[in-house]
């Protein structure tokens, strides 16, 4: 009986959308009961709600009637009856939630007690995710309202894959690697994540369809520089100095002293016209070069630094090339929930 009830509830959970206060009941008795509740005529609500339950109602209308009964019993301090009424609500609509800011504390606590007395798997969520096969997982979340033996499976084109199982209660967070037993990613296609909960003879199931698709893994581009490190100029301009004119003076002076020293006394003093011409040109050149911007010279430290940086970039690109070879053999798995 409990199994049958669970199956019916599961079907109802799939077929009945969540009720909202704004939804307007089609059944006249239900509308009158709602109106009586709005007018705080609780006796009238109880009479009309019981009458409505004997009529042919949709699932949403029936859940609304039980909810009115729960609120009314709560207002009348009949907590046990309120709990019973809310149990019927969540059996019809397991995803039903009450807003604690909009309902009375009595009604909310009665609803909360009712949730704990019925085995439900609620709020099953599968997050959208994309990852490289074998290097990520699909987050699966749900809530079990009573301690129960729970099995989560993915059923689809690739067969049935057990996601996880265990004795759980309350909020459950699972991570499904979306892999087959052999380690390969599950084939692309549409799957249904089914969560079965069992407590004694009571069972409950919740499901969420998902779509699994495969794509190519993006390769990593090679790098031309390393973050935080920049190539330095391989030449530097030395500061201006007197060195050019000094050297010209030194060289010219050497020639002059050498000439004076080597002159033969018997031949007399030699002509200085030639030395004056060339030495003067050297001195003028040295003076001009002293005033000019010096020529760039190799910056050895920067050259060595750039060489090291180039080596590092080369090694990094080699690693990237190896990584890209591996990436080209991998599969990008994308999982997205599909609306029911």
């Amino acid at each position: 009986m409990a199994r049958y009830l669970g199956a019916v509830v599961s079907f109802a959970a799939l077929a009945v959308p969540a009720l909202g206060a704004a939804q307007v009941a089609q059944n006249a008795t239900v509308r009158r009961a709602q109106q009586a509740y709005d007018n705080l005529e609780y006796r009238q609500v109880l009479t009309l709600a019981r009458a409505a339950l004997r009529e042919r109602l949709t699932g949403a209308e029936r859940a609304r009637v039980y909810e009115l009964l729960g609120f009314t019993y709560g207002a009348m301090d009949s907590i046990l009856k309120a709990v019973d009424a809310f149990k019927q609500v969540v059996l019809i609509d397991p995803e039903r939630q009450l807003d604690p800011n909009r309902v009375s504390p009595k009604a909310y606590s009665a609803f909360d007690v009712a949730l704990r007395q019925v085995l439900l798997v609620r709020q099953l969520r599968v997050d959208s995710v994309s990852f490289v096969g074998g290097q990520g997982a699909v987050p699966v979340r749900f809530t079990v309202t009573q301690p129960a033996r729970v099995v989560a499976r993915a059923i689809g084109t690739g067969g049935t894959v057990v996601i996880d199982s265990g004795a759980w209660n309350g909020q459950v967070n699972l991570r499904w690697p979306a892999r087959l037993a052999g380690g390969d990613p599950v084939p692309a296609g549409t799957y249904t994540v089914v969560v079965d909960a069992r407590l004694g003879q009571n069972t409950f199931s919740a499901s969420q369809p998902i779509r699994v698709s495969h794509g190519r893994v993006d390769t990593v581009p090679s790098v031309t520089n390393l973050p935080g490190y920049q190539f330095l100029p391989e030449t530097e301009i030395p500061p201006q100095s007197w060195r050019p004119v000094g050297l010209a003076f030194l060289y010219t002076g050497g020639a002059l002293v050498g000439t004076l020293g080597l002159e033969s006394s018997s031949l007399g003093s030699s002509s200085k016209r030639e030395l004056g011409l060339v030495g003067g040109a050297a001195l003028v050149t040295g003076f001009v070069m002293m005033l000019r911007k010096p020529a760039p010279r190799p910056a050895v430290a920067n050259i060595l630094y750039n060489r090291l940086l180039r080596d590092q970039i080369g090694r990094r690109n080699q690693d990237i090339a190896k990584e890209n070879v591996a990436r080209r053999q991998q599969v990008q798995v994308t999982v997205a929930p599909v609306p029911k």
């Binding site: 033969s264 002509s271 016209r273």
Partner: protein, 214 residues
Amino acid sequence: MTRPALGALLLGLALRPAAGQLLTVGPQFVLSDYREVAAGLRYRGSGFGGALWARRDRLSVEAAVVRVSLDPADGSAATTGFTATQVDVWVAYDVAAYASVEVGVLHRNADPEFDAQSVGAVRVGARSFYEIGPGATVVFRANYLAAPKFSGGGRAAVSLDLGLGLDIRLAGRLHGTATYAFNRMNRKTNPGGTGEIDAPIQETLARVGLAVQF
């Protein structure tokens, strides 16, 4: 080194500038002062010539040929001038960033032959060079002139040659060059076997010119 072999070497260097090799060739204007035997025998003159410089790695070759018309200077005892043709060759090897050792030859020929001494000698020496600015290099050299031979005979145990050079890159491949050379030869002769007498020779030379780099 014979004259044809030297010419072939220079021609080969001039025509085949390989990768990594520098070559400059250009004309020169020359000023010269020449003295021989005594203070009263001195000449001054000018002329033209050409120079070649080539480098490959640490090895460099420099050659200069000048032809100078020398006339008796003021107060000189000489009555007629002569024409001197001088060839200088250096082959240098860099032993440091600013220094080279070099060997070479010097040959000076006087025309008419008996108006002045013709001389040939081997050079051995060193030079220092330094880049004093972008494209500007100064050079100082000192050579010992070994085993000089004179057309009039004699010997010179001490013969030295000093030089100062300047090379400036004027624009692109065009260089300006200026070279000073001073050489003195303590020549001694023994005319008629009566005993050695001093007959020194002293020359200063300035070469100024342009050169094109290949």
